[in-house]
């Protein structure tokens, strides 16, 4: 039985006659293959990457498992359409907190069409991408059973200045997230989610080491998903903090050069997370412009 993914925070969404991804009960995620070259490019990437013996296991774990393609009934009612069959990343998570971070100060590849380059460049300049090297592309933060999720409009988090982005990344690991948005985030779970030998920061550093070396792929317009289960954190258990790379429609060959655009953004994100771990209570701006979006 296919259904709309309950925890999607960015990208095209199914429902109301729209084309979007679907999930089933066996833990698979069906992403409609975009009809243009984005679809063929993403399929090419998954096919190549999933059979590439140069990718070590400690890196391939950051990517969704790929199960090929399948014709299934599209979510918009347009009949059988080809879908990428991927691992459903939210499986086993009851109430995941998720942030989707689009990486790189530049989201366009040098060989893209002029029209596409101008469109992306405009958006990169209007959002946090240019100043920060990444932009928040979507987020949901679980509060508790009563309050549910804080899920601001995607457009309201894309173009925030550094201090606001840091505030959101603090809220992401705070216990007072969704009910008291005017309060300073307490960063109650910073150490257990971001810190530790298997936490988010360690995973980002593992990914960084690979990006400093790999010259096979340039990951334009990819996102890093950061996920964890606040319910477990509240119970004092390991919250299962995990990062995954998604969205490979604009990956190109690296041709012997590292992906300095992705890597620069990754180093910037790492700096934000490190600072939150080092000084969780430091803050410069008390009032956030996204407070009212609840």
């Amino acid at each position: 039985m296919l259904k709309i993914p309950p925890h999607q925070v960015a990208g095209h969404k199914a429902g109301n006659g729209k084309l979007g991804p679907l999930v089933d009960e066996s833990g698979r995620f069906y992403k409609p293959l975009q009809g243009d070259e984005r679809g063929s490019n993403e399929l090419k990437f998954y096919t190549s990457f999933s059979s590439d013996s140069r990718i070590p296991e400690h890196i391939s774990k950051f990517f969704p498992t790929f199960f090929g393609t399948q014709l299934i009934e599209a979510s918009d009612g347009s009949g059988l359409k080809p879908h990428l069959v991927l691992e459903d990343l939210s499986v086993g998570r009851d109430n995941p907190s998720i942030v989707d971070i689009k990486m790189g100060s530049r989201t366009w590849a040098p060989e893209a069409s002029e029209e596409y380059i101008q469109k992306c460049l405009k958006k990169d300049r209007e959002t946090s991408s240019l100043p920060l090297g990444f932009r928040l592309s979507g987020i949901q933060i679980y509060g508790n059973k009563e309050s549910g999720y804080w899920k601001p409009e995607r457009t309201s988090v894309q173009n925030l200045p550094a201090e606001e982005v840091k505030l959101i990344l603090k809220r992401f690991v705070s216990s007072n997230t969704s009910t008291d948005m005017d309060m300073q985030p307490d960063c109650a779970f910073a150490a257990t989610v971001y810190g530790g030998s298997t936490g988010i920061l360690s995973q980002l550093l593992e990914m960084k080491a690979w990006f400093e070396d790999q010259t096979m792929y340039h990951f334009y317009s990819c996102s890093i998903l950061i996920m964890f289960e606040k319910g477990l954190a509240l119970e004092g258990q390991n919250p299962g903090g995990q990062i995954k790379l998604i969205d490979f429609a604009h990956v190109i060959e690296g041709r012997g050069v590292i992906d300095h655009n992705f890597l620069g953004g990754l180093c910037s994100l790492i700096k934000f997370i490190s600072e939150i771990l080092t000084a969780p209570s430091e803050h410069k701006s008390l009032v956030s412009s996204v407070n009212g979006v609840n």
Copy 2:
């Protein structure tokens, strides 16, 4: 007695009635203060940076010493003009091999004028900046007393693909550089110039560690100079390999974010140098498009 710097490889040059930098015999370098905001911005940077107690000594050594400003006779005969007074980086070097590498895939700051952004963006896309994260901006490689220097046209080295850039960075540390440009570079001095605990790679890694952390400045359109003395290398002595950062007319405040644009390019350059050290004889292209520029 002021004279034209003998070893300038990039930037505006004095001579033939043109305005450019001058040097004196006491080891000072006089750079004309550009009349527009580039001049005031570079002066502002040197003034701020040279008195900034947050800059550790192992980092400030990568920057030219700043001695203030001085009115001197301009090289174009236009009379007394204000100049930045800096350390002459070529002092004590008889026959330096020098490469000027303009850093970053983006040479424009977000707040630059639209006209300036479009001009830089065009050049970044036409040169190696976009694919590599840096571009060669000028180079001179010393051969020996008879052959002198190999000094290709600056425009011929700015837009080379990765393999050609690697070839030039190999030539830079080879003994067969200027007389036999069709030969494969032997990388005879790779280990002594690029390698070792005080070599170029170690210095670049020291700089990288700072860039992963510092959020004070963003260094748009700066160059890294790499210099060494081949004469000393030929005699089996320490060739004095050294990196310096120059050209700060487009530095802006970091506002709490790392300079991911510079850092990405720096990581890319580090990868090139590392690969030359690891596999000096590996090459893919035998004939270089800049061979004929001698």
